[in-house]
Amino acid sequence: MSETRPLVEGAPDARPHRLETQGLVLSYGDRPVVDDLSVTIPDGRITVIVGANGCGKSTLLRGMARLVRPVRGAVLLDGKSVHDTPSKEVARVLGLLPQAPVAPEGITVTDLVGRGRYPHQGWFRQWGAADDEAVAHALAATGTTELADRRIEDMSGGQRQRVWIAMALAQETDLLLLDEPTTYLDLSHQVDVLDLLTDLNRERGTTIVVVMHDLNLACRYADHMIAMAEGAVAAEGPPSEVVTPELVQRVFGLESLVVADPVSQTPTVVPIGRHHCAERV
């Protein structure tokens, strides 16, 4: 697998991969969910896509990972349409962890993570030392090495999510897309997963795109934020520039205050409902 894993530092393939969409239209049935959307994902950064339910953010992510065929427009990876590139070739550069994936009964951590090696194997390239190493590195990066021989069903939700991320890492892609990786986790595991993704980004330069619901955690962890409403981009940029009460109103239909997060100094959205609001300042 030398062509995808240069052993020597400073190998020629140091150029980061570029993911963008151009006039992308995605639909389920005849209802367009993503409408004429053009974005460029910043290389080597963490991009978080936020928006209300049904705004098309998950569909956009699935479209970028070629799981949904565009009606019009294109998803370009290094300038080439992902739908016109051999699927395995794309899978060596671009990985997606779907929302709530289901593991077969009785599967061990090592077995599951190993299946992420699929794009690096073929009829004549069976499992080899490079695959063992990739799995070991993925386990080490996600702190799951001690769980190597455990079965998935015996593990907690947080551990499971780490193992799935390890599977995506074993795929060794420069771009990693994650669809709501924190949704079914409690708060400490949400922070845990987001810290892990930040480590990957900072240490390996992996470009990360995450769809998530928690606006405040999104503001804290995103280098770049894409806010979506009705299948289009409502705003994009660094959270500190993008997140305003007006945007929250436009995207979520919610009145709010935006204050500074005392821990990270990133924006924090404080919702204003009909009840429990003290005299406003």
């Binding site: 140091a14 990972a65 799981l67 899978a91 779907p98 994936p101 699929y118 090495t145």
Partner: protein, 358 residues
Amino acid sequence: MTAYAPSAASRTSGIARVGVRSVRRVRRHARTRSTTVCLGLVVALVVVAGAGLVLGDFPLTLDQLVATLLGQGTTASSFIVLGLRLPRVLTGLLVGVCFGLSGTTFQNLLRNPLASPDIIGISYGASAGGVLAILLLGWTGMAVSGAALGGALVSAGLIYALAWRGGLSGYRFVLVGVGVSALMLAVVDYLMTRADVYEATAALVWLTGSLNGSSATQLEPLALACLVLVPLTLLSGRALLVLQLGDDVAASVGLRVEAARLVAIVLGVMLAAVATAAAGPVGFVAFVAGPIAKRLTRGSGPSLVPAALVGAVVVVLSDVAGQHLLPVELPVGVVTAAVGAPYLLWLLVRSNRAGVGG
């Protein structure tokens, strides 16, 4: 990609070395267990096949059997072993391999233990094709096998078309399949009521599954079909390995999901059809082979080879039991159904309790 390639130093760092060792250990453990199970199943298969060859109205000793198989038997023993019993045992063995592979392919593909060709109407589709050819068209021999294959493909096409909603859900596929199964069985029943007694007897094998009519001439097309289908199915196992994780994950790691699934379904249908053409719809073999294999290997992959071996052992053993061990002589399909049906009930009860609905 440099960002991802760990430097030479980190590659050999302590943590990584330990990690690689434990990855190798876990993988070796699973491989060893699977190999041991396969060897055990081969031994079991040799034993039950041997029993099938020596037992009967003309019992043989082991010495006589070995001599006969080496071509040094008497005229009588050669005729009985090579002419009668061996074709029957080999037909049973290959039918078991086909059903085992077909069943486990469908179950892994659709991620549902109920999705085996005998439950979802693929086998009965083959039956309907065969009975139609015999009773309405007056066909015989290979033409009937062709009709059985056609029936199975029509059945599968019908299920695929009715269950397709811009994607394939294993659950819907099974429900539609159970309906198609009833439809195909109704076709067989209707044709039987219109047939005269003599024809109906000839067509009866298409209802229960039996090795009574096995002969060398019937074995040949089955063996040829296995020679093509079995290796292709084993090759498709790599795709099943990622399809097990769901369509989204499979597509993300670079599998062309629809194409891979179509290939696996066609292979599974053809395996079930050639087995049904040779011995009728031997019930529940396809259904139990995969789960038994999985229980033995404790693996989570498609376990294709162990499932094929389990299928072969189940069919040959059930046929030996039906002929010699039970008080009345029964066709193999009745014996396998008697064993498989309780498992189906257990599975339904258990999955309902677990709230996953099969």
